[in-house]
Symmetry: C2
Subunit: 420 residues, 2 copies
């Protein structure tokens, strides 16, 4: 891709009113642009990263045998009244009437819709187990949207739902998800911990959260360095019935750390299947409620957490797995014929090898190009300038740690591909 | 994929209240399930087909240099008031207030949002031309939703927008889209015609529609077999100022045919850029309004049109380019050991060759399996039964036209891959 043919609006100054690092950097690097409170536009560079995250999620969900489908955002009030959540969600749910006066909402999650499918379509134990997932837009009218992608009113979520005949079968579905989530976050280069948490509006018994440590995180988690107990502070407080200073398991003093949840897995049990009548016939021909689980990942939150944890004072440092491009070619002066010719040659050769490469073919100063290169954080920069060319070399710079190599200009591409 | 591990709920009977063929077949084949009026659930098989259509669209849009981004569905009233469309859309737009009382809507199209990005980010002629596209959910509160996927209240659209400095540059963007659309529809095996049409609420000068002939189509188009004139009947009426019996170009009698629009391309001109103040500095340093175009494709409509035109009395006949699987293996009796073993062997060998294959491993009668196979319309059926095995053969059946081959069971996979 040529910089002049795509749209990457970068900014030198921090945007006004933004305090969270990922919010600031995602705007400055031209990844996204806020439209209004809690609602974002994803620009080409940011969307490319989100699509890579989506691919990783899709691969890992398919690996555990999950079936992808797509549920609608529009939802009739009747389904939510069956479970009591029409009222429970209150103002957090966008509710309105359609042109015929029917009450409807934008689904903030999809347990009710999944249970509706199950009660119509699942007849017997032979139709189970099922794991269904979607990568879809969610809407929540947050009272205080913040941090750009961290707490938005419209966001992309991978949500999946397991349907099982009994606890034993459910344990397998739950454990498959736990493994899939670990793989997804590892592939996105996120260091995470898994903590026990409360289930909130989702209901059911206990749940587990996947958390990334971050100073800007909204959640407090407690960790016992003695016995390994880890929990969301809320649940630790309710377990210990006090201020959660001490571990409820071994009594040692707990550490408290801030952490921006990236995944949450819930044991729903029979809550939804009983409320909405989703039953199956067991091997004896008796009716039993389906045992359900619910599992969420915030797609933009992964992007935000990577920025929070993989960046320096100059900008973002993308892990190769989700980088928008692997290489950024920087011709320092496009008016210099040799620079331009060699840059184009290297660009075309890398493209021909099927690597993703961006060339900064703008007629800008080297200073601007270097600043933008560090800001947008492509893993490898290939710098082509007159000084180097006089010595017969181009420079390969690793964005992560600033390791540099001087590469013979004649066999630049083969050497670059070998090193990177 | 194993039929027993995925979720394909098929129905022998036509669903009640459905009259349109694609609506009936998409429900009966387990592709989708209506949630409520004009709002659909896409089940695994249907979603797999839609993802293939999305891939084709993405490839062809990237081929013309279009940049993918993602715009939000939530939109503040203020932007729509600038162009007058807050009122113009009337009840066709889902409008509501957020928890703080702010007026907002679900965007039925995205010209206002694109113009908002352009007026903030496009500074000079050096930032142009741009083509931006997204594949995203649209919401329109249709007074009469119909035909399942044909006229829904929530649907997926590829919408793109071109930004140019002048008419000449715009003509290129428009013509690139015309070519991309032709490629997309051809790759989806749709026979289409391009007709001139009116621009309706989109504004701007004339537009062109891509139409597929279909008895259930909602649009009437007129065709002159003498001079080749083709137009939406509405525009022909306004051009001829009468009942549009005669061609406005050559005066010959016009033919009228029914046809369910699959794509629409619009010359917006300066309508949005002037209304919202999206200007750029030209080479002389003077401010000029950006020349815009807008281009839409209904993703589910492609699926519906393929079903309308590629099906017989038994079910759907998917073109290979968008078929959910290339092969369907049908072991006629899974309780027969030789049948089961050979079916599994063929299944694993085809998978190892990286082809998409579904095996009907259900313990069902041959009659049910044959009916379901024809209904869901996978291009090639591999039938494995005791009669054939006694002769040392399996049967390869082409869904399109029912051509059959007897294949030596020992080298089944290599022969099947060669024939198909």
């Amino acid at each position: 891709m040529r910089w002049t043919k795509t749209y990457i609006p970068t900014f030198k100054e921090n945007p006004k009113g933004c305090e969270v690092k990922s919010h600031i950097l995602s705007i400055r690097a031209g990844l996204m642009s806020p439209l209004f409170s809690g609602v974002n536009i994803y620009l080409p560079l940011g969307w490319k990263i989100l699509l890579k995250i989506v691919s990783i999620i899709r691969e890992e969900m398919e690996r555990i045998g999950a079936q992808e489908l797509l549920l609608p955002s529009l939802s009739p009030s009747s389904l939510w009244e069956e479970t009591g959540r029409w009222k429970e969600y209150g103002k957090d749910m966008f509710k309105f009437k359609d042109r015929k006066g029917g009450d409807m909402c934008l689904a903030p999650t999809h347990e009710e819709i999944i249970t509706e499918i199950a009660r119509n379509g699942i007849k017997s134990y032979r139709d189970l187990p099922q794991i269904w997932f979607q990568i879809q837009t969610k809407f929540r009218d947050e009272p205080r949207p913040r941090g750009g992608m961290l707490r938005a009113r419209e966001f992309i979520m991978k949500d999946s739902y397991s349907l099982d005949t009994d606890e034993k079968s459910f344990e397998k579905s739950y454990s498959l998800h736990r493994t899939a989530y670990q793989n997804i976050f590892k592939r996105c280069s996120l260091d995470f911990v898994i903590v026990t948490a409360s289930s909130g509006l989702m209901g059911g018994s206990l749940s587990e959260e996947f958390m990334v440590f971050s100073k800007t995180g909204e959640d407090a988690i407690v960790i016992c360095e003695n016995c390994g107990y880890k929990a969301n502070r809320d649940i630790a407080v309710s377990n210990t019935n006090d201020s959660a200073d001490r571990c409820p398991k071994c009594g040692e003093k707990l550490k408290i750390k801030n952490a921006i949840e990236i995944g949450h897995i819930f044991r729903l049990g029979e809550k939804y299947s009983r409320a909405m009548g989703a039953f199956f016939l067991n091997t004896n021909g008796d009716r039993e409620p389906i045992i359900m689980g619910s599992y969420g990942i915030g797609v933009e939150r992964i992007m935000a957490c990577v920025i929070e944890t993989k960046s320096d004072n100059n900008g973002i440092i993308w892990p190769p797995s989700i980088a928008p491009y692997k290489f950024l070619i920087i011709p320092l002066n496009v008016r210099n014929t040799e620079t331009r010719k060699l840059s184009e040659k290297i660009y075309k050769e890398i493209l021909a090898q099927k690597y993703e490469v961006l060339i900064d073919d703008r007629d800008e100063t080297p200073g601007t190009k270097f600043k933008d290169a560090d800001l947008i954080g492509i893993p490898f920069q290939i710098v082509i300038g007159e000084k180097g060319l006089d010595k017969g070399v181009v420079e390969l710079v690793k964005r992560d740690g600033k390791k540099k190599w001087e590469i013979d200009k004649e066999r630049a591409v083969s050497e670059i591909l070998q090193i990177s």
